[in-house]
Symmetry: C2
Subunit: 237 residues, 2 copies
C-alpha cells in the first residue's frame, strides 16, 4: 500500500513545510529575527540540528538585511551556492551573487602562490572591499579607507564549502585588508572546519555560523535567501 | 585560545576527510559498491544518518556506473544540483548534465497545464527517453521501442528537491512513457517527500533513494559524483 499524498497546492508547499517545522519545534522560542533563518536552514536540509547549531553575532541579521537593502554583493565559495541564491529577488535591491572559483585569474593566482582556489577567491573578494584599520597600519584615522573601491555596495561573504576560505578571510580581516559587512560561515566537513568557524566567530565581524561540522552550499544559500526574503518584510514563515 | 589547524595539504583534505568518516563508522560494514556512495553523502553533509537511510535497488550502483561509462545524460531538478556535479569528469565519458527548470518551454508548459515547473521538467526528460512497454500499450514486443530517440545514451534522473518531480516520474514510468536507466530519488522536505520516495522505490526502475525526509541537491550531486568517480575505478575513498 502506498501512503496517500497530502493535497497541497504547489504554491502552498513551502508555507505548509514551515508550518510542520514550527509544529515540530514545539515550545522552543527563538529571537524573532533569527527564527526565519533557523527555519529556512531546517527547511533546506530536514535537519533539526540547525535549531541548536546556528550562532549569530550581535545584530548580525539586522546588518545582513541592511546590506541587502543597499544592494549587497554576495560572494560565494561554490557555484552551487551561487546557484541556490534567489538572484531575481536579490536583484530587486540591486544586488548580485559572485563566485570566483572558476575564474582564470583565480586559478592562476592559486597556482602562482601555491594555495587553493578557495583562498585565491577570498583574496579577490577582499580586493572588492578592503579596509585599512588604525590597528593594522598605525596610520591616523583620516588617512584610512583610501583603498575603498568606487563600488561601495556592501559585501556579504558566504562560505558553504571551504574552511580554507574562512581561515583566509579571518587572516585578511585581522590584517585590516578585508572588511566584509557580514560573513556567513557554514563550511561542511571534517578537516579544519570547526577551527575555521571558531576563528571567524572571533574575527570581530558580523557573522552567522553553523557551529560544528555541518553546513554546506545549500545552507549558505538558505541563509542568504532568508535574509533576502526578510529584506522584503516577507519572511516566508 | 584558538584550536590549532590540522596540517593537511590541500590535495589531501578529501582523502583525510574520508579517513575520518571511515574511523567514525567504526565496525560497520557496507556493500563495497554502496560504500563510496554512502561515504560521499556523509562527506557532503557531515550527517551520519546517510549510513542508515540510503536505499539501493538490486544492482543499482553497477547500473549507474555502466550508464555513466556509456555517456549518460544526468537530468537534475535544480540548477544547484547541476552545479554540484563534476561535469569535467562526466564529460570524459561523453556525458552531460541537463536541468530544464529555467527553460522557457518548461515554464510555458507548466502554466498551460496548471502544474509545476518540476513536473514539466520531468515530462521533458521523459521525452528524451520514453519507452513503450507491453503492459502499457498491449502491443507485441517487436513493435515496442519505436519512440526511442536517436540519442540513445542512458539517462539518469537525479531529484534532490521536488517530490512532485519524483511522483511525476513514477506515474510516467507506470504508464510506460519514461524509461530512465537510474533514478536518484533524494528530495528533501516535509510535504509528500516520504510518499514520493516510496513510490519510486516501487516503480520497478533501478534507484538510489534517501529514505525519510532528508536529501537535497547537494546529496543528489554527491551520489552522481560518487558514481562518476567509481566509473574511473577511482572511488576516491
Amino acid at each position: 500500500m502506498l501512503e496517500e499524498l497530502e493535497q497541497v497546492l504547489p504554491g502552498d508547499i513551502e508555507k505548509r513545510s514551515f508550518e510542520i517545522i514550527t509544529e515540530e519545534l514545539g515550545e522552543r522560542t527563538f529571537d524573532p529575527l533569527e527564527e526565519p533563518i533557523i527555519k529556512r536552514c531546517i527547511h533546506t536540509s530536514a535537519d533539526f540540528d540547525y535549531a541548536d547549531q546556528l550562532y549569530f553575532s550581535p545584530g548580525a541579521v539586522k546588518i545582513g538585511i541592511e546590506a541587502i537593502k543597499k544592494g549587497a554583493r554576495i560572494v560565494t565559495d561554490t557555484n552551487m551556492g551561487k546557484a541556490g541564491v534567489n538572484k531575481t529577488a536579490l536583484g530587486k535591491f540591486g544586488g548580485e551573487v559572485l563566485c570566483f572559483m572558476a575564474d582564470e585569474d583565480v586559478a592562476e593566482a592559486a597556482k602562482r602562490e601555491g594555495t587553493t582556489r578557495a583562498v585565491a577567491s577570498v583574496k579577490k573578494a577582499a580586493a572588492l572591499k578592503a579596509a585599512e584599520t588604525a590597528e593594522a597600519t598605525g596610520k591616523p584615522k583620516e588617512e584610512l579607507g583610501k583603498r575603498r573601491q568606487a563600488d561601495d555596495r556592501p559585501l556579504i561573504l558566504a562560505v558553504g564549502n571551504a574552511p580554507t576560505a574562512l581561515i583566509e578571510a579571518y587572516e585578511l580581516i585581522q590584517k585590516g585588508r578585508f572588511a566584509p559587512d557580514l560573513v556567513i560561515g557554514v563550511p561542511v566537513g571534517f578537516v579544519n572546519v570547526i577551527p575555521a568557524k571558531e576563528r571567524i566567530m572571533q574575527a570581530g565581524v558580523p557573522c552567522i555560523v553553523a557551529r560544528g561540522r555541518k553546513g554546506g552550499s545549500n545552507i549558505a544559500a538558505a541563509i542568504c535567501n532568508a535574509l533576502i526574503y526578510m529584506s522584503f518584510n516577507k519572511t516566508k514563515v
